[in-house]
């Protein structure tokens, strides 16, 4: 019975992850059944694909570097200073993490695009005929959006670690004669490095697999692997090349993910973590004030401006403030066959998200339970070794969907789910299934630390006091896991709400989700359509923000490792 339950997450992974990936492999190596290197040769042979890979890599590298440059001082401020509103700010600064890429992309066009808020103001004030800020479809827009998106990720990881690192070690170094600067380089930095590395890798992975941001902000001349896969498959129907690109993408992300899980394991090293409460100091002098103010300013400009621009732009028309775009969402002007009222898109997204959340919670919980099982005592040595090997490789295995590009996944579904044994192409279930796959890692990451933090002696104490295994679960483990599970559930919900890359492939025309509907509006010309896209993005932003508030409310301390 236990075995059967535990096999569910693996079965799900095999069916809806490895099977489509295997199909992609087959398609790239042997499109006609026999092994054919043509697609791969084309991939390696032409400059274009190498250029795509090169672009994907360097934009990710530059984005990561920019993110670290901004996030490190920010983390220092949050970790070392005590000031009013810090808690709230810290919470708000992590909001972008749950925002859909479509929303982020639109927020930046709303701020900096040719019709954006900033250009509008500048043109009006200085009576310019042309928008002075020409960032649309340049690399800067992509980099900016990536920084916006990942700043919070890096900030969160590094701050949490830095806070708990405490200030006693650098103080000890000071007492031994090291200057503050020296103490930082010889003591703090080496201890901090694993966290910075983990953050850098995660940010790099996110930027490497960036899809929505590049697709919407990059325009035709920029394409990451992810965007190229989408174009080859959806626009050019060049499936073998798309498959070959997916393969390339998979190889890269697997390596990166393996590095990430390794570096994350290293973060566990500091044994005596200090309570964060005692390590922060109040702002004492002008220097402190400068440091804090500059960082908070960066945060404000980076995070608050685009989002407010999105909201503001969605309610401003030619004649000033208006709710026209929101009203228009409910009117089908062109009598379009594909018109889907936004209410329906919201309903679709909500339903899919609820289903995906339930499945992700069930599977994530089972997977986490399986990962925390100790190898049974009394088994042979070989068996124990094998078990621990499986257990060690299972953790990154469950994380794979997080690293695998959503587009690759959607593409894999397109080519596998249209024929028996899994004929789900026209089924409504396909979208929630894809979302479940992407959301489950979040549930696992939320629950696993809580589960691991339950000391084994608690279970043993309960058993000795007469609790059978089911009672131990119900009276001891479940109450201690409840909150973490709730956090995981809300995470899963918001992830599903914002998922774009896979959904754009597999959603049926009649049942688009919010992000897909937004993308459709963007694809149509005219200020009205653009305004509606912004209005819908704002709606999605609000939904995710509410989910985010829920996560923060239920999160205990710094639960959840990413």
């Amino acid at each position: 019975m236990k075995r059967l339950l535990y096999s569910l997450p693996i079965l799900f992974l095999a069916l809806f992850y490895f099977y489509p990936l295997a199909a992609i492999l087959r398609l790239s190596f042997a499109p006609q059944g026999a092994i054919d290197w043509a697609a791969l040769r084309e991939l390696v042979g032409t400059d274009y694909y190498l250029q795509t890979l090169w672009f994907t890599t360097w934009q990710a590298a530059v984005s990561t570097l920019l993110v670290l440059l901004l996030a490190l001082p920010g983390a220092y401020v949050f970790a070392r200073y005590r000031f009013r509103g810090k808690q709230t700010l810290q919470t708000i600064s992590t909001l972008p993490f749950v925002l859909p890429t479509v929303v982020v992309a639109n927020a930046f066009t709303a701020l900096l695009g040719p019709n954006g808020l900033l250009n509008g103001w500048l043109m009006r004030w200085f009576h310019l005929a042309e928008p002075p800020i020409q960032l649309q479809f340049t690399i800067w827009m992509i980099l900016l959006a990536h920084v916006f998106y990942n700043y919070s990720v890096a900030l969160r990881i590094i701050t949490t670690f830095w806070q708990n690192l405490g200030d006693r070690l650098p103080q000890a170094a000071n007492m031994l004669g090291a200057s503050p600067w020296r103490a930082f380089w010889t003591i703090t930095w080496p201890l901090l490095r694993p966290a910075v590395l983990a953050a850098a890798l995660l940010v790099f992975i996110f930027c490497f697999t960036s899809f929505g941001v590049v697709l919407i902000l990059g325009g035709p001349q920029f394409a990451t692997l992810e965007v190229e896969i989408y174009r080859q498959a959806a626009n050019l129907f060049n499936l073998p090349v798309a498959a070959a690109l997916s393969l390339l993408q998979i190889v890269f992300t697997f390596v990166l993910m393996a590095l990430y899980t390794r570096s994350q394991a290293n973060m566990i090293r500091p044994l005596t973590l200090q309570s964060a409460r005692h390590t922060a100091k109040p702002i004492q002098n002008g220097r402190d004030r400068l440091i804090v103010t500059v960082n908070l300013g960066v945060m404000l400009v980076l995070l608050a401006l685009p989002l407010s621009a999105l909201l503001l732009r969605s309610i401003s028309g030619q004649q000033g403030l208006t709710l026209r775009f929101y009203r228009e969402l409910f009117i089908n002007r062109q009598g379009s066959l594909f018109f889907v009222p936004p209410g329906t898109a919201v309903f679709n997204s909500m339903t899919f998200a609820l289903v995906a959340m339930s499945m992700a919670v069930a599977l994530g919980l089972l997977a986490a339970l399986m990962l925390t099982q100790k190898p049974k005592a009394g088994d042979g040595k070989l068996q124990t070794k094998l078990q621990s090997l499986i257990a060690n490789s299972l953790d990154p295995l469950f994380m794979l969907p997080l690293a695998t590009s959503a587009v690759t996944l959607g593409f894999g579904y397109i080519i596998t789910m249209n024929k028996p044994p899994l004929n789900l192409r026209s089924s409504l279930a396909l979208v929630p299934i894809a979302h479940t796959l992407v959301a489950t890692p979040f549930v696992i990451r939320s629950v696993l630390p809580a589960m691991r933090s339950i000391r084994p002696s608690l279970r043993e104490a309960a058993a000795i006091l007469g609790a059978n295994p089911r009672q131990v679960w119900w009276h001891v483990e479940w109450p201690l896991l409840r909150r973490a599970l709730l956090v995981g559930a809300v995470f899963a919900f918001t992830v599903s709400m914002g998922e774009f890359g896979a959904t754009v492939f597999i959603a049926r025309p009649q049942t688009p989700t919010l992000p897909v509907a937004i993308y459709r509006f963007l694809g149509q010309p005219g200020a009205l359509n653009y305004g509606q896209a912004l209005a819908m993005s704002s709606l999605l932003l609000l939904v995710c923000a509410v989910g985010f508030v829920a996560i923060e409310r239920f999160r205990l301390g710094t639960e959840g490792e990413f």
Partner: protein, 345 residues
């Protein structure tokens, strides 16, 4: 015999055996201490008795019944963990009540029993407290109350004072012994601290390398350590290798020593234990045949006595001498050894 283990063996890895072939008897009402350095297998032995660890071979018997395969929750034993393992999401009352709930007690009986237990450990007013806000000593007493509440047939304590500081440990040792005796529970107590074992145990089982070195009452153990390991573990420093030269005489590196202990056949290699209180200073000039002449290397004032380190040839010995002497390192000293205080191990 209440509890019996027969040739219990457990190996976590094939290279290192945690417990090998341990057979042990525990009588009803007895407090038995498993004493030994960390890694000696005492905790593993305890966990096998508790049913938390399955032995590789050997059996556990309780009241004449084999219980080796009985899961822990059906054994009706109690256990106190080193980290106390209090449920962080339950308050003091709920922690103590947990075992009673598991045994299906009625609400009214639970309330009465919990109150009784909290009174026993002197925490009567703490029922509604959050366990995470208790001090170490309070947590320890809640853990004790919790493990005693269901009236366990056997109580196991795994280094229950190990997490506490020294002063608190000294005080709680006596409390613990008194409470255990008042309840009359049979207890197995694991510790690495000999003072604790001496204070609490009726009988001490000294373990080393997964095996039993010696089983004795605290008094007998101190008076007569059975092996060099036990002697060293109890803090005796003066162990000398020697060969029996004649009945009552052993030849050692520091010369021939006369002993009252029964000696084996002439020529047998033995280990001698010189108790620190064995020596008395011989006034300079007086001639004595059993004199032990050496140089003082260190003197440390210990209140009731002076601890004196003496280098005799290449051997360093430690003796406790009266504080009336004025001794300094470098001084040459002649000591007379009392044959009564020299033991053959």
């Amino acid at each position: 015999m209440l509890l019996e283990t027969r040739t219990l063996t457990k190996a976590y890895t094939p290279e290192t055996t945690a417990v090998s072939g341990v057979s042990l008897h525990i009588a009803a009402g007895e407090i038995v201490c498993l004493l030994g350095p960390s890694g000696c297998g005492k905790t593993t032995l305890l966990r096998m008795i508790a049913g938390l660890t399955r032995p590789d071979s050997g059996t556990v018997w309780f009241e004449g019944q084999e219980i080796t395969a009985v899961p822990p929750h059906l054994r009706d034993f109690g256990m106190m963990f080193q980290d106390f393992a209090l449920f962080p999401h339950k308050n003091v009352f709920a922690n103590v009540a947990f075992g009673l709930e598991m045994h299906g007690w009625s609400r009214a009986r639970i309330a009465a029993r919990v109150a009784e237990m909290l009174a026993l450990v002197d925490l009567a007013d703490f029922a509604q407290r959050d366990v995470t806000q208790l001090s170490g000593g309070e947590q320890q007493r809640v853990a004790l109350a919790r493990s005693l509440a269901p009236g366990p047939r056997l109580l196991m304590l795994d280094e229950p004072l190990g997490a506490l500081d020294r002063a608190l440990r000294e005080r709680l040792m006596l409390d613990l012994r008194q409470i255990l005796q008042r309840v009359g529970v049979t207890a197995v107590y694991v510790t690495h601290d000999q003072t604790e074992a001496f204070a609490i145990a009726d009988r001490i089982v000294v373990m080393n390398g997964g095996q039993i070195e010696q089983i004795a009452t605290p008094q007998a153990l101190y008076a007569r350590p059975a092996t060099p390991f036990v002697a060293r573990f109890l803090g005796f420093h003066n162990l000398l290798a020697g060969v029996v030269a004649a009945p009552g005489v052993v030849e050692t590196a520091v010369g021939q020593l006369r002993i009252d202990d029964e000696t084996p056949a002439v020529g047998t290699a033995v280990t001698l234990l010189l108790r620190p209180e064995a020596a008395a200073i011989v006034a300079s000039g007086a001639k004595q045949e059993a004199g032990l002449q050496g140089t003082v290397t260190a003197v440390s004032f210990r209140g009731r006595y002076l601890q004196v380190w003496l280098a005799v040839a290449a051997t360093r010995l430690m003796f406790e001498l009266p504080i009336t002497y004025d001794l300094h390192p470098g001084q040459t000293l002649t000591l007379a050894l009392s044959p009564k205080s020299i033991l053959i191990l």
